[in-house]
Amino acid sequence: MSSVADGNTMMNEQRREFIKKTALGVFAGLGASSGLVPAFSLEKTALPVWDEKPVQGKIRWGMLIDTRKCKEGCQQCVAACHHEHNVPSFKNRNEEIRWIRKSSYKNVFPTSNDAGVSKKIQNRAVLSLCNHCADAPCTQICPTSATFKRWDGIVEIDYHRCIGCRFCMPACPYGSLSFNWQDPRTAIVDPVTAYPTRQQGVVEKCNFCSDRLVKGLQPACVETCPEEALTFGDLNDPASDIRVLLEDNVTMQRKPELGTKPSIFYII
């Protein structure tokens, strides 16, 4: 009998210990998740700009470039973008990395009819960046889905998955992708810590400042432009600035005949 009783007390004690520890664990867990116990609390997460869960295709970010306002010789947006994203500046044209650039009207719109376009416009420098196409050929051709379409319409590259096969480069009709032909870190003039650098052997391009959007900021080029020539917004929202401007103006896209449905629009 006594041995059984002894056994019972032992079991009870074990059980008590177990319950105590479990309760402590649950409390600690609750405390951590609710932030009651600061020492235990989980990693702090920044509140996202959007409270709701991402819905595929609900938002489609786009940009409108007013080439009339864009000032001759001004490179502020290019400088801001390339600084913000640690884009290296190689002197050798062959190894250039370009997220955003200004080139001639003819280069940006090679297939457009230029018969009725004045010399003044033809000589105008036009800003070009990744079009974040709705039907992006680069995402389709990428064998590992390292170049992919985000829920908000941004075409993004996973620099850790890219195998550097470069099939996306000829697939893009706009020449928006750059390849790291050598270690880019040697050519970053003034590195920032807020955005990662890339490795040798991967492709990269404009990310529509997805790193800034998540903080509730406008893309760097839009924010920097002194002439306010760039308008950024949700193409799916009828009340957004960009939609209002698109409805009020005649705009054009680059190589619309290819059916890639670019998210970048131009007022000429």
Binding site: R93, E96, P143, T144, C162, I163, A171, P173, Q182, V202
Partner: protein, 365 residues
């Protein structure tokens, strides 16, 4: 069986040693490319592809064409190909392996090669192309080796070999079609913006593959005395010539539709193609052994230029999306890496054919 590849005369070992020397040079060149990045090649912002992709494209054709012999022997029961079939299979395997190696050499991050398996994109033709190519490499080497093993034992090949070979026939057709469709969909490649490319690819593959097979069997005959048979060789010539004719016709048509006529290398490819086909088609001309070998080699060269150098390098401006002009000239590092991969494939083919000859000679005694 493989031990037969380790026995050979002086000439054999000199050949093997020179291949190893080229492989070593290729490896050291590749080491530099890995260390400094693909910037050591002649490729750049505008010419994002160069001789690596060119060899890849050409070699897929060579690999795919070998299936023609399999098709003739197993489906159409043309028994004169009995001795050629195994050579064709091993040539296909070597060519497929080389084209995979050229893909790896062209990668910025070859250490992430397995991402193709871990994160495949089923919408990507590149993924399918590499998957089918690997499958074709497997079917060629497995069926070839099994057939050789059976022959050594003096028994008929196992039943499953036939099934593997049947699978390899559509695979061969698909690898080149998928490659052609992939290229035809790239807006950047002006000269390739046509779906006719798939038909051209297949015609040129048959021509180049059959010619190369003839050259390989002739080399085998000269060096080892192993004769694949005159009838097989004659039939292969017919195929090479008519496929070459079809290819020249299609290439000629392209001169009227795109800017081909502006590319000197294309003219070179066209003219050498025409000349070699005439030699192969006229019996009086092809009687001369030297002229015959020269014609076969020239046809291969003509297609190599059309397929790779012509479309990649073009001997001049490469069309680029933003309209600017890019000059692409391969660097010595690039050339040595390419030579190294070619040597590796040739080494593999030499070793496999050495075993084939040893087994056949053993059986004939």
């Amino acid at each position: 069986m493989i031990e037969n590849a380790l026995k050979g005369n002086r000439a054999y070992w000199i050949w093997i040693a020179s291949l190893f020397a080229l492989i070593a040079t290729g490896l050291s060149a590749y080491y530099q490319q890995r260390w400094f990045g693909l910037g050591v090649t002649g490729m750049g912002v505008d010419a994002s592809w160069g001789i690596y992709t060119a060899q890849f494209t050409f070699l897929i054709g060579v690999a795919a064409s070998s299936v023609l012999v399999v098709f003739l022997y197993y489906l159409l029961h043309q028994h004169e190909f009995a001795k050629t079939v195994i050579i064709a299979l091993f040539m296909a395997a070597s060519a497929a392996l080389m084209s995979i190696l050229f893909v790896v050499a062209d990668m910025g991050k070859p250490d992430r090669f397995l991402n193709l398996i871990f994160y495949p994109n089923p919408r990507s033709l590149v993924f399918w192309d590499l998957l089918l190519l690997s499958g074709y490499l497997a079917t060629s080497i497995i069926s070839g080796w099994a057939m050789l093993g059976a022959e050594k034992k003096g028994v008929p090949p196992p039943v499953w070999v036939k099934s593997v070979l049947y699978i390899s026939i559509p695979l061969a057709l698909f690898i080149y079609t998928v490659t052609a469709v992939l290229y035809a969909g790239l807006p950047d490649l002006n000269l390739w913006l046509t779906i006719m490319l798939a038909i051209r690819f297949i015609a040129s593959a048959c021509a180049a593959g059959c010619s190369l097979l003839i050259v390989v069997t002739l080399i085998l005959k000269r060096t080892t005395g192993f004769d694949a048979g005159k009838k097989a060789s004659e039939k292969l010539v017919t195929f090479a010539a008519y496929a070459g004719l079809a290819n020249i016709f299609l290439l000629g048509l392209a001169f009227f539709t795109t800017s081909y006529s502006n590319v000197p290398w294309m003219w070179f490819s066209f003219i050498t193609g025409v000349v070699s086909i005439i030699i192969l088609l006229v019996p009086a001309l092809r009687k001369s052994q030297q002229l015959f070998v020269a014609a076969c080699t020239t046809l291969v060269l003509s297609i190599w230029i059309d397929k790779s150098a012509g479309l990649m390098i073009g001997g001049g401006p490469v069309p680029v999306p933003l309209g600017s002009i890019a000059e692409y000239v391969p660097t010595s590092i690039e050339i040595f890496v390419a030579l190294g991969i070619w040597s590796f494939g040739t080494l593999l083919l030499t070793a496999l054919l050495k075993v084939v000859v040893a087994v056949k000679v053993e059986n004939e005694c």
